[in-house]
Symmetry: C2
Subunit: 352 residues, 2 copies
């Protein structure tokens, strides 16, 4: 019995050449990830819920509206300034639920451990997960543990899947984005990616570089509780701010105008990016989001967001223009304009 005995679905021809292989870029969250998803994975699982391309699936079960999401975490190293793989695994799934406007309720946790992992390391990661879950108000209710041979893993990989309840009637989705909406960014960008990179490469900088990883559900629930009509939300992870904007402009079929001068970047991240030749707009974040809000409500939304420490420096970085052309027009500090693109290739593998 070989794999050749399993027939490939004839309705779903391979979009790749016969000898093509998976590269690290296919996990970047950028252009190659997008291609893998849209050309290979989506065609096999064609259904309207998956097709929304949102951070969470929105489900109606009985009269209950739920959000459901999953993420696997393979970050290297396991511990980095400002966080660890356990924290990321909780925040990542909490934030995907929050971006659907759901209140996070329940979490699953599945571990893939590498033979030889010190129990002490596992215990430290579990303690971090436990603490972070409690702080985020989410309960871990089901799990699984597998072990692979030494050299077939890298310490710990963690999957978390989450369920949240959508308690309002607002539809938060790229398709709700409207001309005139203002684009709010919840804080300075690039800290998670640069903190992991600095740790991995053994770089030290004068200014401390800590990951921004944090739960984003509280500020979002504040907006909903106060009646802010949120059109769309997206947390900025792999691929950074630029990739999130490009993806949303495509899903929404809208043109966004974004001002470089309005985008906050810390001195530490600016310095590290200059040294390494990176653009902070493509560096990963784990505690930042963008929100599309009708202009009339944007000031009220900013006031609410700034009451939460995780979004205390929220600001407006752009707006939705007229027309249905999917593009992100980026006005640089020099005054020139260019179109933003998805992250090409891979910038930094295993960032989350």
């Amino acid at each position: 019995m070989t794999k050749n005995q399993i027939e490939i679905n004839p309705e779903c021809p391979l979009p790749f050449s016969a000898n093509e292989r998976v590269t690290l870029g296919h996990g970047s969250g950028g252009q190659l990830s997008h291609q893998l998803l849209t050309e290979l994975i989506y065609p096999y699982f064609d259904n309207p819920i998956l097709a929304t391309g949102h951070d969470s699936a929105l489900l109606s079960i009985g009269n209950q509206r739920l959000a459901f999401t999953t993420d696997s975490f393979v970050v290297s190293p396991l511990f980095f300034p400002g966080g660890d793989i356990g924290k990321l695994a909780i925040y990542g799934t909490v934030n995907d639920l929050a971006m659907s406007g759901a209140k996070p309720l329940y979490l699953s946790c599945s571990l893939i451990l590498e033979e030889g992992l010190p129990m002490n390391t596992l215990s430290t990661v579990l303690a971090s997960m436990s603490h972070t879950a409690e702080e985020s108000g989410i309960k871990l209710v089901t799990g699984d543990t597998k072990v692979v041979e030494k050299g077939k893993g890298d310490g710990i990989y963690i999957n978390t899947s989450g369920i949240g309840v959508v308690a309002h009637d607002i539809c938060i989705a790229p398709q709700q984005i409207e001309k005139g909406d203002l684009i709010i960014l919840s804080g300075d960008i690039g800290r998670h990616g640069m903190a992991v990179m600095a740790m991995r490469e053994g770089l030290t900088f004068d200014n401390p570089l800590n990951s921004d990883c944090a739960a984003l559900s509280d500020p979002i629930q504040s907006l909903l509780n106060e009646g802010i009509v949120i059109h769309c939300l997206r947390d900025l992870t792999r691929g950074g701010l630029a990739t999130a904007l490009v993806e949303l402009s495509e899903s929404a079929e809208k043109t966004f105008l974004v001002e470089e001068t309005a985008i906050p970047v810390s001195d530490a991240v600016t310095g590290a990016c200059e040294m390494l030749g990176l653009d902070p707009c493509y560096v990963a974040n784990e505690g930042r989001f963008i929100a599309f809000i009708p202009a009339a409500q944007a000031e009220a939304a900013l006031t609410l967001l700034r009451n939460h420490s995780v979004s205390a420096t929220s600001c407006i970085i752009g707006s939705v223009d007229e027309g249905n052309k999917s593009q992100v027009v980026y006005k640089t500090t020099m005054g020139s304009e260019r179109l933003m693109q998805r992250l090409p290739g891979e910038q930094l593998p295993r960032i989350c």
Copy 2:
């Protein structure tokens, strides 16, 4: 920043010695898995839902009763007689939901791909998942893809998490098991484990050895629809029939009597087990379950189960005795009695 800066929860002291490491046995589903779970993992996530130790978490959201479960699949090789990792990833989660009496509805899929994996292999696995999900009546609605460097994975690891709806009022749980219940086994045991082992070791036998992997939701729904009062269900995976019986006897605090002569084992599995010195009661299955049914309804249950090809050879293998001693008394073909134990150490790593 090192991991030492993250404090270990002082309320949860390490149950392992300072230098202890994860071994393959911790992923066996047997005694070492049990120890890892009860001594290290559970104490960090102490809540009543997790504490039930059931295959799925039972959740009440609004007036809706849901089952929620997760599993990661690391089977090696990816393709084996009768199945592949994609099939297992669907059936495994569908079956965990079914064992709570839930109707499986929605699935998440998270892939961890190893750099260098042929796209053709990925496509074949996705095709298998797509086909199996459709056949099982479950929708894949959300996903994630990560890529790790060559040598940090093994082709493909898949996590699936699932949500099902519990549409009846019966509580299916170890605590419902009662004195006098009969124990039904849904078919012959050991096929999945021996098929994978034969493939991995390059063994060939005269009798074909195919995995039993299959969806178990239809026969369970039949029992529920016909008003059979199911006390408990458990699918037999890692650790085999013996480990499942021991775990349930402990959770139920009951004594089970099981007859070796009543347990069906195919000639192919018997032959392979004899050659390799294995006991079929400890070999993994992926399409078999045990059901605890009141004696008065056992014949009706058998009739219903035998109408489904996946459980066509269902039979009674034992009963629940009086007393509250957690033990499984195993009457061998030779007439002697011994107590069944959990799978000690590891028998066959990466079976699912």
